[in-house]
């Protein structure tokens, strides 16, 4: 593996990141070495050729300990196909199917069903293909997706969605069950595909961070930071220290908001309405304190190219420190109640278990990964500024069930509250933002951020004059959705909402 890393060319503005251009033989060799060396596939996507004569290509990003290796395979012939990586990295299947839907570049994997494309456009039309094809809108409004059928005595199917019973995002779940027991779950996503990667190419390089923040609302900070990190990489801009600290503050606040929301919802899904009432109360107070300090309840437009949109004053900073302390102590109290509640223990323990070995085999990542012994946390393992100065303590659990994912959130709430106070106490003086000059040459850069759900990646390729020629956005849910299908096996149908919530994966962030 080291031989590939040493051959890689450093990517501008992205420390610890190298790019390797390979032929189709070494494409598989690299993937094989990464897989056997315990590395992970972070993302895979394809790009059409362009007017400057660049070839179409397929790119894979691998995480190897603290290093990021981007492997690019140019597709020089007219076949527009490449060897799939699904046997080495199971999560590659859906990424390869999505890549074909968007660009028409096909892997040789056996599963060739569409993934992001339903019936909105015909199979031969690809929104990101070059030269752009005349837009075609299919006449049919519903397609016929081939779900895998489970046969046998007493087996029947329950179709759920896309419109669900709660206030949640749309997706379809097809359960094959016997009695109450789930034999198989097959997910179908793509309902909220709204052409985000295409939309990026219509926006200016320094305005598209607003779109990045809206890829997935609950991870707005993570995505907009990843985007700005990539955009700043293209221009070699150095964000001032204070700006970096305020970005980290926003990222930790986002983690805290989501964990509080999830902990309440998880109690509620196990029939403990008290939990929802208490956690949603604390969350609302937190949002108001954030609104008072930073001027937004949710920090959609906090991170901008060059730094942050605003500064924080000393009084607000003290409010936030005091409130973080209060949240930590309230949550400690509620944790005791959760842990002593026999009903919750009964529902949480053993439900939706993903064993450590399975998690590693399937590439479970982020928060759900850390609850199954997959210890990657980029804030610790690959600390980008200012995390290199913050000494984050990593939280990891081994049990892999709902209880572990709940406990991990409780652990992380405490750690995040400590971090928020630390960031604000150590906040360096100076400007929060610098001017960002437009890059004068086309280039390629990546941004990689550990969001609350897991590693979020933006790969950005610019054209001239502030144009974006390709922007690929990747949410950790791409890896974790397929694992949810395994987590539910042998559980009962009524436990699905609870297990699903314990993962809390993205729809919009995945469907793009």
């Amino acid at each position: 593996m080291t031989k590939w890393l040493s051959r890689a060319v450093p990517v501008r503005g992205s420390p610890g990141t190298g790019e390797l251009v390979v032929n189709s033989t070494s494409w598989i060799d690299v993937a094989h070495d990464v897989s056997s060396g315990g590395g992970q596939l972070a993302s895979l996507w394809t790009t059409s050729g362009d007017e400057s004569g660049n070839h179409a290509n397929v790119r894979a990003v691998f995480l190897i300990n603290a290093s990021v290796l981007i492997v690019t395979l140019p597709i020089v012939d007219d076949s527009l196909s490449y060897r799939g990586l699904e046997t080495l990295f199971p999560s590659a299947v859906r990424m390869q199917r999505a890549a074909f839907d968007l660009t028409g570049i096909r892997s040789d994997a056996p599963d060739q069903r569409p993934w992001l494309r339903h019936a909105a456009w015909p199979a031969h039309w690809h929104p990101l293909k070059f030269p752009a094809m005349r837009s075609e809108i299919a006449a049919k409004s519903i397609d016929n997706y081939e779900f895998v059928r489970v046969e046998g005595d007493g087996v029947h199917e329950i179709p759920v969605g896309p419109v669900h019973a709660g206030i949640i995002e749309p997706g379809h779940f097809r359960f094959s069950i016997v009695g109450e027991k789930v034999l198989r779950l097959e997910e179908r996503l793509g309902y909220v595909h709204k052409g985000i990667e295409h939309r990026f190419t219509e926006l200016h390089l320094f305005e598209a961070h607003r779109l990045a923040a809206r890829i997935c609302g609950d991870s707005a900070v993570a995505f907009s930071w990843a985007y700005c990190q990539a955009a700043e990489g293209l221009t070699n801009v150095r964000v001032p220290q204070r700006g970096l600290y305020l970005r980290a503050l926003a990222l930790e606040l986002e983690r805290l908001q989501n964990h509080l929301g999830d902990l309440g919802a998880l109690g509620n899904d196990a029939g403990f309405a008290f939990g929802l009432a208490q956690f949603s109360r604390i969350k609302e107070h937190l949002l108001r304190v954030i609104n008072g300090a930073l001027g937004q309840r949710y920090l959609f437009d906090w991170i901008v190219p060059g730094g942050t949109a605003r500064d924080i004053d000393a009084a607000s900073s003290n409010d936030l420190i005091a409130f973080a302390h209060e949240v930590a102590s309230e949550v400690r109290h509620l944790r005791q109640i959760y842990e002593e509640h026999s009903g919750l223990r009964d529902r949480f323990s053993g439900a939706g278990r993903v064993e450590v070995q399975l998690a590693s085999q399937l590439g479970l990542t982020g928060l759900a990964g850390r609850a199954s012994g997959q210890s990657l946390d980029l804030r610790v393992d690959r600390p980008w500024p200012p995390y290199d100065q913050l000494a984050v303590t990593k939280c990891v659990r081994q049990e892999g069930d709902v209880a572990a994912r709940v406990a991990l959130r409780f652990d992380e709430v405490q750690e995040t509250c400590v971090l928020i106070a630390k960031i604000l106490r150590e906040l360096p003086w100076g400007p929060v933002r610098v001017e960002t000059p437009l890059p004068n040459v086309p280039g390629f850069a990546v941004g990689l951020i550990e969001g609350w759900r897991g590693p979020v990646l933006i790969a950005l390729q610019n054209g001239g004059e502030g144009k974006i020629s390709r922007c690929h956005a990747h949410d950790p849910s791409w890896h974790n959705w397929p694992v949810l299908e395994h987590a539910i096996i042998d559980n009962i149908v009524p436990d699905f909402p609870l297990i699903n919530k314990s993962f809390n994966l993205a729809y919009s962030g995945h469907d793009l």
Binding site: A119, H198, H341, D511
Partner: protein
């Protein structure tokens, strides 16, 4: 159990008193009566995410917290469009959700009210219209009330819902 009860008693009722503005004061005092006069029961809302980034959903969730306590106002979220008086629709409508949204609309009994939520639901937002997005909700189904914002605050959402109630026809009450 004792700890749970102590916590409940210790925190007490956090639901906020009437908001400061006069108009909203009026709303708070008369809303339940208004809903009762029109419907004879709670107002039932069915939320449909037709392509949102989930930002609006975060704030719609907040309506259920004990501070806004929307159920205390006589308004509740229901699981089926067949039980709903109002559809609360978010997102630019993705083309993949177009049919599901139309079917949800058709499944909602008349008279019904449609509230479009967020900059995307009202105007298409940053996503606009393209091969995969139909843009604003009113491009797909008739919309009565729009609540812009990215995302709109829970207070704005409440105001929009309240305004929509005033639009409900007086004969909406189900006769036995």
């Amino acid at each position: 159990m004792l700890k749970t009860l102590r916590t409940i008693a210790g925190i007490g009722i956090v639901t906020e008193p009437a908001p400061a503005s006069d108009e909203m004061l009026w709303v708070r005092h008369s809303l339940q009566d208004e809903v009762l006069a029109i419907l004879g029961r709670a107002l039932c809302i069915r939320h449909v995410d037709a392509g949102s980034c989930n930002g609006c959903e975060l704030e719609i969730h907040a309506l259920n917290n004990p501070i806004y306590n929307i159920e205390g106002l006589g308004i509740r979220f229901v699981a089926s469009p067949r039980h709903a008086d109002m559809l609360l629709v978010t997102g630019p409508v993705s083309r993949h959700m177009e049919t599901a949204l139309r079917r949800t609309y058709d499944a909602t009994p008349d008279p019904k009210i449609v509230v479009a939520v967020g900059d995307c639901g009202c105007m298409g937002g940053i996503f606009g219209e393209n091969y995969a997005s139909c843009g604003r909700v009113s491009n797909v189904i008739p919309v009565d009330i729009q609540i812009p914002g990215c995302p709109p605050s829970p207070r704005r959402l409440l105001q929009g819902i309240v305004t929509a109630i005033a639009k409900l026809p007086r004969d909406a009450r189900v006769t036995e």
